[in-house]
């Protein structure tokens, strides 16, 4: 083989190697769920609405039977994600439709509400500071929304696992069994990217429930990114 041919082969090999590396980075490792931005209305520039649902099985993607979140964008379209953006210096009004079943808590601390405006959430229209897992029908706590950087902790009351119209797979709709939790928080006066996570082990099929969806972005953990207006 001539020197020129050898040089060509080396250069082609390098190019292929670099292409493979870039594909690995951008084709897989950098891929992430969609990001939903909460935008204020013209009439209420200092507040946004954030509407989410939690499904026992998200129904789409690489793990359709994993528990996870869907988030509604400004046009009413649901996206299977846990990445949201909210504006800085804004009151964020969150509505969570919980379609998953719950259970007893291993630590009663997780039943406390913290870090939200007024120190309360409304569960199915009732204002509460503590969500007792054995509340009413004893459905238990399904999940928690915890944002350590903002001090937020909100337990989400589950639905009865034996409900006749239990939503088997997402995206679910309000004709199916669900609970509704509403709360508000202030996004703060600086831009930041806050990690949030469900702290109740809820990954069915995993020991203690801490694997799979609990450790994967787009299912039971995500980011609330506070961005400039």
């Amino acid at each position: 083989m001539s020197k020129g041919a050898r040089a060509g082969a080396v250069l082609v090999s390098f190019a292929v190697g670099i292409a493979l590396i870039l594909y690995g980075i951008f084709g897989y490792l950098r891929s992430s769920p969609a990001v939903v931005s909460a935008v204020p209305s013209a009439s209420q520039p200092n507040s946004v609405n954030l509407i989410m649902q939690v499904d026992g099985a998200v129904g789409v993607g690489p793990h359709p039977n994993w528990v996870g979140y869907w988030v509604q964008d400004a046009s009413g379209v649901w996206h299977q994600t846990t990445l949201v953006k909210v504006p800085v210096n804004t009151n964020v009004h969150v509505t969570v439709y919980e379609y998953d079943s719950g259970g007893a808590l291993r630590n009663a601390v997780w039943s406390q509400v913290a870090g939200v405006q007024g120190g309360t959430v409304t569960l199915n229209g009732t204002s509460l500071r503590v969500i007792n897992p054995s509340l009413t029908t004893g459905n238990g706590i399904a999940h928690t929304i915890v944002v350590p950087g903002l001090g937020i902790q909100v337990p989400l009351y589950g639905v009865g696992a034996s409900a006749k119209n239990f939503c088997a797979t997402g995206p679910c709709n309000t004709s199916e069994a669900h609970t509704v939790t509403k709360f508000s928080f202030f996004s703060g006066n600086q831009t930041h990217k806050y990690r949030w996570q469900c702290f109740v082990p809820c990954g069915l099929g995993y020991l203690n429930g801490n694997g799979g969806p609990m450790t994967t972005l787009g299912y039971m953990g995500g980011f609330i990114e506070v961005v400039g207006k």
Binding site: F14, I25, L29, N210
Partner: protein, 646 residues
Amino acid sequence: MAIKTTSFASGGDGGRAVAGEKKGFRLNAFTGLIAGGLGYLFGHWMGNAIAGGYQQVIGSGQNDIAILLGFIFGTIGWFLGLGILNYPLKKMAGIEPPLEGYEFEPGVMKYFRFTLDNKVVGIQYLFGMLFYFFTAGLLALGIRTELLSPTNHIWGPATYLEIVGEHGTMMMMMMTSVVMGPFGNYLVPLMIGSKRVAFPRLEAAAFWFTPAAYIILLSALWQGGFQSGWTGYAPLSIQQGVGQDAYLFSFALLGFSMITSSINMTATIINYRAPGMRWSRLPMIAWGMITVAFTMLLSVPILIDGLYVMGLDRSVQTAMLYAGHGGSSFLWENLFWFFGHPEVYLLALPGFGLTMEILPVFARKPLFGYRTAVTGMVGVAVLSFFVWQHHLFQSGMNPDMRPLFMLTTELISIPTGFIYLVGLGTLWRARMRFDVPMLFMLAVFFNFLFGGITGVYVSDVPVNVTVHGSYFVMAHFHYTIMGQLIFAVMGAIYYYAPLYFGVKLNEKWGKIHFWTMFIAFNSTFLPLFALGLLGMPRRVFEYAARLQHLNQWVTVSSYVLGLSLAFFVVTFVWQLAVTRPKSPLNPWQSRGLEWQVGYPIPPGNFDKIPVILSGPYEYGDPNALPVADLTPAEPSAVGVSSGGEI
């Protein structure tokens, strides 16, 4: 006593052409990939057929049995596709197989085949190891890029931990063979005057385990990774997705590679030394290899045992490592570190072997305190089995055991000090030549000083309580492994390129590579000590904002380090494949036996078994005998001696 071997029936001519053997299509790495892929599909299908209906599988959507069976059959397919199993299978069927893999073959295709020539295996290992090292290095840059900012993220948190786990596992498991593979396999038979290794099939198979392990380990990234990191602690390792199966299986494959390689190396050094190659004349690389081989043989089976237990817990729901089901996570921690801490030394010892080998050549002095250096190596190898619990000081272990393991760990600094002082003694009043290999060897001593001394600190229980799990510990072990081992390997590549390839690498480019790598390495890892003392924990992708500037400094330095290594890759490949600057024979004027056979080295290494006349490090002694008689008048034997005195 001489051990005689038959001349060829058992492959004893060490690589000569097999007359009349049928030529034509031969199995290779590409057929291996195809067979491996088919094997994986078959195993996966079988796993789904067996366990697809299990409640655990239905609930989690995860079938570990299918994944592990896929890996098992994939690996069997890989070996079948490479032709590695042809010989034993035919033997078992009562067919006398041809001695495939011994013939001399020009061109590059031999590097993609199962071959029994120790020099081809050495070069396969060299490029394989460099490939694995640079893959893991790229992952390290991914880690550092994420840490540019405490709040703006490049990766998701789980992806970050996947990258950390992949980087750590690939470095720690693959680099166990970075010296024994490329240098032990290639050089030891030449250094001890042997025509071949003891078990060439095991040697070659040991290499072909590594690409399978690499592919499987890397595949974890596409399967959700494993956030347990390279230590694989339970219960996290039991709770993880199928990426953890890739971790445990690839690590076990590397374990088999280490064992087979070590069996071959031990048997070769003990039984295949030429007449006159006394233990007191054994080159330091060979000492490094035999101490490491014994260490691997005694420690790696424990790791494989632990991985087997992990695999059972994950796939068939046994409860040996998971405390919630009656098992014990301490079981894994002990099984893992009983391998894991000797492993740190089986990374360091070969690096010291290379250093001790190369220093006298450029110091032009005998190795100072040969017996002291050997004692140091043996001492480190033996003591390495009595220190593993220092990794568990914070685990809740019996506190009364901590002083014992603190003591044994601190004791190991004594034989390590022997080796270090032998190096310094060799340099004392030497008229050194500062060629590129020597610069790397000097850097080994500089870097290891930081790694070694901080090792004494972190082995101390009160200090360990403070710095455990911090960047201080990370800086410590990067200094001992990358600062020592990888610098030694780089120096050895420059040193042995004339012997391996007939090419002398450009000195100016080599010095650019060395200085940029040396400065960038220290600029990257020295601040990590400070970061650790300032409270930065390992394995977090968000950290305190006050640590951002130091982290940015480290990240930028790591980019320079990456560029320096990229510069090496480009210049190395360019010179080997394109410009091919021809090297004179023995350009460093080494006394080593391996340099006396000329270039290219014949397939059987030596025309006749040489007779060793003196040690390899008698530099500067005008009365020193030549190292060996390569054409002894009376052939000692067709085979070899067990190293008997002459």
